[in-house]
Symmetry: C2
Subunit: 364 residues, 2 copies
DNA sequence: CTGAAAGCGCTTACAG
DNA sequence: CTGAAAGCGCTTACAG
């Protein structure tokens, strides 16, 4: 079985005499080498690469053995060109905290390891009118295999619509279902916030403050609403003036606490909808000479590294971000998102309350 | 100028009759469409794409105009296949803090924006014996255009050697030159730490503690050494038992401060070689009822968001990480790293002391 | 279960 | 300054 055109250019590894040394090639072998050395057509090698069932087991074994021996892996660019899509997963996000982004990346990479796929990061500025165009160009230019959307861009219906139009796979990570199950990964923030409310109430607190995120964020509705709902179910109605709309930033946490701690009666506990704002509460409390948790109990949300590093360590809600990233990537790598999966309920993860040292029974 | 083989399969946009509607195609045009519609060969279009000077200005204009009109951008996979390399930049790192990683990513992406290149992240575990193989596979498989190495993997000579062997471009970000100038981006940590020493001495502190990173890190030598050198130049010799080897973690900062604050005489100032450890110093000081900066001045390194969020806000050294990321990516995108650049001194950035509220003159 | 031909969208020699 | 041919390393129809 000689090659058809000896006069054509050939890769270095495809010399006419396959010397034993050829075996030592590092990552340079091509599908042609595998086909020639193993005596089958490249189409059959291609079938092996793509796990087609239409290959005789013996043939498959022979091919796999040589691929392993030569350390052959198919060229993603060539495959991509022929497939008309790449082996890249895009991670698109607006402006979450660094730890959240990094955890999500680690999780996604956990799932991608040894899969032949790689992770391409794409932060963007959703406050710009044309940011969706930027994402679209990114997705189309790179012919991404799939896209992971994390809050807050995951909440943008126009972005999702644009991705649907392109026809790319995508997964939205959000605190509430807002798309077909195949496209959703839900973090049950509401439920966890209710748990925080139950805990604070059970400690005996009755005068309570709440610092939320911006009203336009879905997570604000879930986290803040879950907390209020939890208190309500236990007979505590939070007056509107004990609710402060923050911006998920440290400074807004300071401002919120300054506001709440000036009220009379002064709250004995504050729930901040993320840890950064909770850290701001610490600062405001210290400035006023209030001790935590002696004079004020504080609960956050996220369980960022910051939470354990504050003094006293912050009681907060742990969100399994890395797991979420892993699951999202897995959803993208899975089989066609049609069939059964489509009908099923969206996947969900449950953040959990982590009790540390910033909470106790109120004095007196 | 009709196409040679009307019987061959053609892309949808290449219908025989270029209707006006064809103009509205979104990102589907190919080099063939540009060539046909503009009446030149695809090779000439290719020359325009690659900025070859060997194109008549008028021809170039005509081609560029149509490309713009059709929203054409060359397919990176096809280019990559022909070029035998991709348009991807790899970011390789071990285990820095989240904020550092994210800032570096933002910086690199700043430089890559609209360049046609994308950023692929590759965290790894340098404590594993075979992590270099993992990086090598990553680089070769994706045929990366270049790699950015950030501390601590940037300090690994074996990794650098492996990359040289592969023949891929790379930039090492480190606190001291350790490779050819074309491959180095130096953050002058030593100089900045000396500045911190000068500042602390100038406040009047004479009993001073130092918490370093692990001895095997190059940054430890630079940061710790720069600090000691600065004190020494001003006539202060730090006794060895006022130096604690930490691990760049919050907990090791706590441990270091517990150790130092138990000494007699007790230090009136502590320099921690990163902010996380400085945060640990805060915790230990508070536990002992020591006020910052009244009883103890604290200086950190990094200027992470944490620094501004501590109370009192931490005096620290600001490292322009995002700029560093941007410069590193630019070095990778630049012209061939031969010629002049090679002879020049390595690029360097200078971290700066940021004085906040955690430092003052010692009491008494 | 297997293969020969044509193609994915570009670039590299090579020739003018 | 320009172009026709061959190729990069794979896959898709199509045929057996």
């Amino acid at each position: 079985m000689t090659e058809s055109a000896p006069r054509t250019r050939r890769s270095r590894t495809a010399s006419l005499l396959p010397a034993p040394e050829d075996t030592g090639l590092t990552g340079k072998a091509t599908i042609n080498d595998i086909a020639r050395l193993t005596g089958v057509s490249k189409k059959t090698v291609s079938r092996v690469i793509n796990n087609s069932p239409l290959v005789h087991p013996e043939t498959r074994e022979k091919v796999l053995a040589l691929m392993k021996q030569l350390g052959y892996t198919p060229d993603p660019q060539a495959r991509g060109l022929a497939f008309r899509r790449s082996f890249l997963i895009g991670l698109v996000y607006d402006n979450p905290t660094a730890q959240y982004i990094v955890n999500m990346q680690y999780g996604a990479l956990d799932a991608l390891r040894d899969s032949g796929y790689e992770l391409v990061v794409h932060p963007c500025d959703s406050s710009k009118e044309d940011y969706i165009d930027g994402v679209r160009r990114f997705v189309q230019q790179q012919k991404l295999h799939g896209v992971i959307l994390i809050p807050r861009v995951s909440e943008d219906e126009q972005l999702a619509a644009a991705l649907r139009e392109i026809g790319v796979r995508y997964v939205r990570i959000a605190s509430v279902p807002m798309d077909a199950a195949a496209h959703m990964l839900v973090t049950q923030d509401r439920q966890a916030s209710t748990e925080a409310a139950n805990y604070i109430e059970s400690l005996g607190h009755r005068t309570i403050g709440l610092i939320t995120g911006p009203r336009r964020y879905r997570s604000t509705i879930e986290r803040g609403g879950g907390f209020l709902g939890g208190l309500d179910a236990r007979g505590i109605k939070l007056p509107p003036d004990y609710i402060f709309e923050g911006g998920y930033t440290f400074d807004s946490g300071v401002a919120g606490a300054e506001y709440l701690l000036a009220k009379s009666p002064r709250p004995t506990a504050i729930f901040a909808c993320n840890d950064e704002m909770a850290a701001g509460v610490y600062k405001a409390a210290m400035r006023r000479g209030l001790s935590i948790p002696g004079d004020l109990s504080v609960v956050g949300f996220d369980d960022s590294p910051l939470a354990a590093q504050l003094w006293p360590a912050l009681t907060t809600i742990h969100s399994p971000t890395r797991d979420v990233g892993r699951q999202a990537a897995q959803m993208l790598l899975g089989e066609e998102p049609s069939s059964e999966a489509a009908a099923v309920a969206p996947r969900a993860v449950n953040p959990q309350l982590v009790v540390r040292d910033s909470t106790q029974r109120p004095k007196g």
